[in-house]
């Protein structure tokens, strides 16, 4: 994605381009200087995306940690967008030092270019809020006047006072409408220019007609003006639009964060060992790259130096890292696990396995049927109906009742005002805001709000295996046969390592194990430490010199060995385990008659027993990305609406091809970028929770449409009969808006229920 790359970063300043591979901590080889902006008063500003920012307490920890530095003037975390803005003195502290400081605090941060978002960013959100403020002020003040006019209609307000009040109302309302109505007017204008109708056409027409007619009435000294109804209509609709935009901008921020966190840059190493950051797009064959531990390989290539392990689970579904050394071939998108290596690029750009997947994905996206949102479908019926009714009213009064054209026009406008889709404009966004907020509390991030609607109608669920039905991380499976001391000793050694098996060991031992100092890690082999003069080793079979006669114990699982002098070696076995509630989730969907299936890239012997154990009949193994798409297309051709749950890079095209898609938060960036929803945690239950919320949201939206319809059935005949007065219009307007909003809020208190 070329647009994601800031222009200035292609040639970073030489002073900052140098990083010493031996001293820079793993994962921080990223050069941030290209993202630094200069402010007017001479300080520097840097925007960062914080990856693992989940709790409010993190805000304080980060801000304190940074503000404790003398060079930092101000650090402010935005919890909504998960971003951090730092203002500091660049002469006293390098940009990279900020990222290193954050990593010492325990947060992974990547620089972010705010220009990415400034094009379509918070500016329209502010403009909407400003418009809401203006219409709110105007509506409140015009009400003050309207109420006294309404009272005056029954009491004995003189026509002179009434006219004065009408003029005053016009003075307050007309500028507000001219200012705050622009988003609706311009949208309606665009629709009309394209010879189509959208919801903004009747809205604009009603507002302009009501304001125009009221002005006419004011000038001619009439009794009824609808200024209050017109501005209140705008006020409520703007609120609905703001809610909608907030959900969308949050989703967009999440998408942009993923983009920033993904591999969009590579660290180039020249002959003198100097490091330079270049965009992935500029990689060419033969370049030598430096890949820190924990980073993705940005291109296919051959390892030149260093010994490490590669996690290819995102590509192949294979869950355990494989050892690589000089001469080994690695693929773009896989993760370098244990130690820094240098890589000679053999294939870059268009021809990497990764970009083939991206191409498949884009193709799949295009075949995805365009889903018409409920509100749009409603508008398609509603907008013409409103116009026809208004026209009928005008003609009816003119032809049948032989009224004057002014009286006929007034009644037609009353129809437009009263049918104005307040409920429609507010109903859907209000429900979505509540639903998205509730999902967030359950650890589910909704990236595309309209995906909730799509999700409510699914009748097939397809899972990937590794990382989706399973945890995607190894778990110790023979803890029962291991002595407590051995486990504690092994875990204290493992504390020094970032290897997945070490981390699994630490998790199994609990958190209270103090790490041993002076552990040496030999990548691809194991760890060694001296404790009380004794050499303790933890690592693979060869590293711990375990004799071959123990091969009877060798199973499909992967293993670690612990060797202390004078004691028998201890074996730790690990396996990728099924998520504990996977079977329950499958039962939930099967009980509803859904098609439930597995599409896995893994081998048949692994997939088959797993599918049986959780009760899935339909499973396919050895699936390549293209096969997964084909399988989904077949399901869709059979009339199914498919939810795809997957995490790997090899799932990304399938995620794009399905009707709705969901990824765990441990998924590859590319899968997360494509998924409609992202869920966190060990459990699979959020899938069920998500489905329930989507259904409840859909029910509430339909109910709200029902309210809007019945309100119209009641009010439209009154309006056509010419019985609507300004007070009824104002009451009906606010009552219907309050009703749909209150109904949306019910989603907060609805029970989520438990799966069978």
């Amino acid at each position: 994605m070329a647009h994601a790359w800031p222009q200035s970063s292609v040639t970073p300043p030489a002073a900052d381009a140098q990083t010493d591979p031996d001293t820079s901590p793993p994962g921080t080889a990223f050069n941030a200087s290209a993202f630094v902006q200069q402010t007017e008063d001479g300080t520097s500003a840097l925007d960062l995306v914080i990856e693992n920012l989940h709790f409010p307490a993190c805000v304080q920890k980060i801000e304190r940690g940074l503000n404790a530095c003398d060079a930092v003037l101000k650090a402010r975390v935005n919890l909504r967008t998960h971003r951090l803005r730092v203002l500091w003195d660049v002469k006293r502290m390098r940009a990279d030092a900020i990222i290193q400081l954050l990593s010492r605090l325990g947060y992974r941060a990547k620089p972010f270019d705010p220009r990415l978002e400034s094009a379509s960013g918070p500016a329209p959100e502010r403009a909407l809020l400003r418009a809401i403020g203006v219409t709110g002020f105007s509506a409140a003040n015009v009400m003050l006047i309207s109420v006294s006019v309404w009272a005056g209609l029954v009491e004995d307000m003189g026509p002179a006072t009434r006219d004065f009040f009408h003029w005053l109302s016009a003075l307050i309302v007309l500028p507000a409408i001219a200012y705050a109505g622009r988003p609706f007017f311009s949208s309606a204008g665009r629709a009309l220019a394209a010879r189509s109708l959208n919801m903004d056409v009747p809205i604009s027409l009603a507002v302009i007609a009501a304001a125009g007619m009221s002005l006419w009435e004011t000038i001619t000294g009439g009794a009824y003006v609808y200024f209050d109804a017109a501005v209140m209509l705008l006020f409520f609709l703007l609120i609905g639009r703001y809610l909608d935009m907030r959900v969308r901008s949050k989703a967009r921020a999440a998408a942009h964060n993923l983009l920033a966190l993904g591999t969009t840059s590579a660290t180039l190493m020249d002959e003198t060992g100097r490091h330079q950051l270049i965009p992935v797009e500029n990689l060419t064959r033969g370049m030598t790259l430096f890949i820190a531990a924990g980073e993705h390989f940005p291109a296919d290539g051959v390892i030149m130096s260093g010994v490490s392990e590669v996690d290819a689970s995102m590509m192949t579904g294979e869950s355990l890292p494989q050892a690589v050394k000089k001469g080994a071939e690695v693929f773009a998108g896989t993760v370098n696990v244990s130690a820094p290596v240098s890589l000679r690029v053999t294939v870059a750009g268009e021809h990497t396995v990764l970009s083939q997947i991206v191409r498949l994905m884009d193709a799949a996206e295009q075949t995805r049927a365009k889903y018409a949102r409920l509100a749009d479908r409603a508008a398609r019926i509603y907008a013409p109906a409103v116009h026809v009714l208004a026209a009928l009213t005008f003609l009816g009064w003119l032809v049948i009742a032989h009224a004057s054209w002014q009286a006929a026009l007034i009644n037609a406008i009353a129809v437009l005002i009263i049918t104005c889709p307040c409920a429609l404009g507010l109903a859907v966004p209000a429900v979505q805001v509540v639903a998205v907020g509730r999902l967030l509390k359950k650890g589910v991030l909704a990236k595309a709000p309209d995906a909730l609607e799509r999700l409510a109608t699914i009748d097939a669920v397809v899972f990937d295996k590794t990382g989706t039905l399973t945890r995607g991380a190894p778990t110790l499976i023979n803890a029962a046969t291991i002595g407590k001391e051995d486990l504690a000793l092994a875990a204290s050694l493992a504390g020094a390592s970032r290897h997945p098996l070490s981390q699994a060991l630490r998790r199994a031992a609990g958190s209270a194990i103090p790490p041993v100092p002076d552990v040496t890690e030999h990548p691809g082999q194991g760890l060694v430490a001296l404790i009380e003069g004794q050499e303790i080793r933890l690592g693979n079979r060869a590293w711990c010199a375990v004799e071959e006669h123990t091969t009877a114990q060798m199973t499909a699982a992967s293993e670690l060995w612990l060797r202390a002098p004078g004691r028998a070696p201890v074996r730790f076995a690990f396996r990728d385990q099924i998520r504990p509630d996977a079977a329950r989730v499958v039962r939930f969907f099967r009980a509803r008659g859904f098609f439930v299936g597995i599409l896995s890239g893994d081998r048949e012997e692994v997939v088959s027993p797993l599918a049986q154990s959780i009760g899935i009949e339909h499973w396919r193994s050895n699936m390549r990305p293209g096969d997964k798409i084909a399988a989904l297309q077949k399901l869709k051709a059979a009339g199914r609406r498919v939810l795809m749950v997957g995490d790997g890079m090899n799932d990304a095209p399938a995620l794009a091809a399905a009707d709705v898609s969901l990824s765990p938060s441990t998924a590859s960036d590319i899968a997360q970028a494509r998924a409609d929803f992202i869920f966190q945690g060990e459990r699979l239950m959020p899938v069920v929770e998500l489905y329930r919320v989507a259904q409840q949201a859909r029910r509430l939206i339909l109910q709200n449409f029902g309210f809007a319809l019945s309100y119209n059935l009641l009010a439209v005949p009154l309006a056509m009969a010419g019985l609507i007065t300004p007070i009824i219009a104002a009451l009906a307007m606010s009552a219907s808006s309050l009703l749909v909003t209150t109904n949306a809020l019910r989603l907060h208190v609805m029970k989520s229920g438990e799966a069978p």
Binding site: A68, T81, L144
Partner: protein, 57 residues
């Protein structure tokens, strides 16, 4: 009725005051991050480092 000459401008002035306050809070970025605002009040003040200017926003 003469009271209206004072009351209407007074009402409009108060309303405008509210509008101006809202626009000011909007422009000073107070609506950018509504998620962390309820928690910030619970954070302890930092007074350990008197040489530093406190966070002004």
């Amino acid at each position: 009725m003469t009271a209206l000459i004072f009351l209407i401008p007074a009402a409009l002035f108060l309303g405008l005051l509210g509008l101006v306050a809202f626009l000011w809070s909007l422009n000073s970025g107070q609506y950018e991050d509504l998620d962390s605002a309820p928690y910030r009040i619970l954070f302890d003040d930092e007074n350990e480092d008197p040489g530093k200017t406190p966070d002004k926003s």
